[in-house]
Symmetry: C2
Subunit: 255 residues, 2 copies
């Protein structure tokens, strides 16, 4: 499951997660997977205690965590409800990670890609202006690892680290908080295209170009190269997912 890969990339490992975190993740996965109807009640505290075999305090802490992520809403006396998706903190690392546990939805993936196309060319441009030599070194190393990768997994990890390095090199705290979006989109894309390593190597020249432009402090070139790279990814996804561009430019729904 690539949810674990996501957590690896965020190096959330190291610390042993307590029971509350475990229960939180288990519930979170089910909510994101759509096992509960929007606005529907989930089991009460006692049932959850029995189901997970833990005490009430643990369940309460787990629920508090999910409330913090916007997934649940607790009403005293009434019960605990699943909030509508529009209220979820979609940028929360766990919420994004849990999305990796389900089949990628074409429209959501497109939205993630739209945001990547908005964010990363700018990030590359800023990186060319402000990156320190250490930050450029990080980008170079990631690029090198992409070249050397032999398995799909190694390649994806190196790819993710490349884009993260660029993002960090832009030296904008708020921007860095968006790295989860990039990881999520990247992992989902790989899952969808399921391309073999050779196919992936196709994107290497553009990554090289981004690196070169940043090294040369050429902001516009970095922006362009990154934009071109993402457009290529975008196109590949369009080819594989029929609904990828479906709900674009037209909407008049709502029930």
């Amino acid at each position: 499951m690539s949810e674990l890969l996501y957590y690896d990339l965020k190096d959330t490992a190291g610390v042993a997660p307590g029971l509350a975190t475990q229960v939180c993740r288990e519930l979170g996965r089910r909510i994101v997977a759509g096992h509960f109807s929007e606005g529907g009640l989930i089991d009460d505290e006692n049932k959850l205690c029995t189901r997970f075999g833990v005490s009430k305090s643990v369940v309460r802490e787990a629920i508090k965590l999910l409330v913090g992520k916007g997934l649940l809403e607790v009403r005293r006396g009434s019960g605990t409800r699943v909030r509508r998706r529009a209220s979820w903190n979609l940028l929360d690392d766990d919420v994004l990670a849990w999305h990796q546990g389900i089949e990628p939805k074409p429209e959501f993936l497109r939205q993630l890609m739209d945001v990547r196309q908005m964010v990363e060319p700018n990030a590359a441009g800023w990186a060319a202006q402000t990156a320190t030599s250490e930050q450029i070194e990080d980008i170079r190393n990631a690029q090198h690892d992409m070249e050397q990768a032999t398995s799909i997994q190694d390649f994806v990890v190196a790819d993710a680290l490349f884009h993260r390095s660029v993002l960090r090199a832009a030296n904008n705290e708020v921007l860095i908080a968006l790295e989860g979006v990039i990881f999520s989109a990247l992992l989902s894309s790989i899952k969808v295209t399921n391309s073999d390593p050779r196919e992936n190597k196709r994107s290497l020249p553009l990554h090289r170009q981004v690196l070169k432009a940043i090294e040369a402090r050429d902001s516009q070139a970095a922006t362009s190269a990154m934009r071109e790279h993402l457009a290529d990814t975008y196109e590949r996804l369009s080819g594989v997912l029929p609904d990828f561009n479906a709900n674009r430019g037209a909407s008049e729904q709502e029930g």
Copy 2:
């Protein structure tokens, strides 16, 4: 305090916050305000119980909430530490709200504005393509409220709602999750420029242009108008804050 204004805009009101939420907010404010050294220990559970006059379960839930926002790190046996700022979930609504409780830091505000300049022109462009008639109506109403506003507060709220309407009209779930960044930047900007209502009215023509372009389904015009509006804001901030552009490479690009 405009932290409350932030919460109003996110309509987090309605439900009475329990003790855990109160303690969480109180601690969160202090952390964001920098009352603790990075990596430093905070009081242990018992001391916090005494300090806030609540039971251990409440304190534990509050701490779990802060861990979920990346502000704290709990190590069994050792204690609870404040994580370094780079690990905070800066896009979390509460974290952004707590930033409103302190004097805006020029560099952080610039970073927020950079992100706005990256996000909102795109959002306006997409809104021109995908907005429903109801969504356009929302934008129109917000714009109307801006025209009619008499107090600074009314104006800021209408301004925030205008930008939120545009963001929502882009019909991208991930994008919507960034509305907190816009609110935060907007409220900080007002606090800094402290401009009187008449001065604010200066931005009305550009808002009108954005609205007109979206109504006309002219994506490029919407993007341009929004870009121009933000560039204007950016410039005004540069004039007031000497350090606003301090840690910065040089030029802007984007095309």
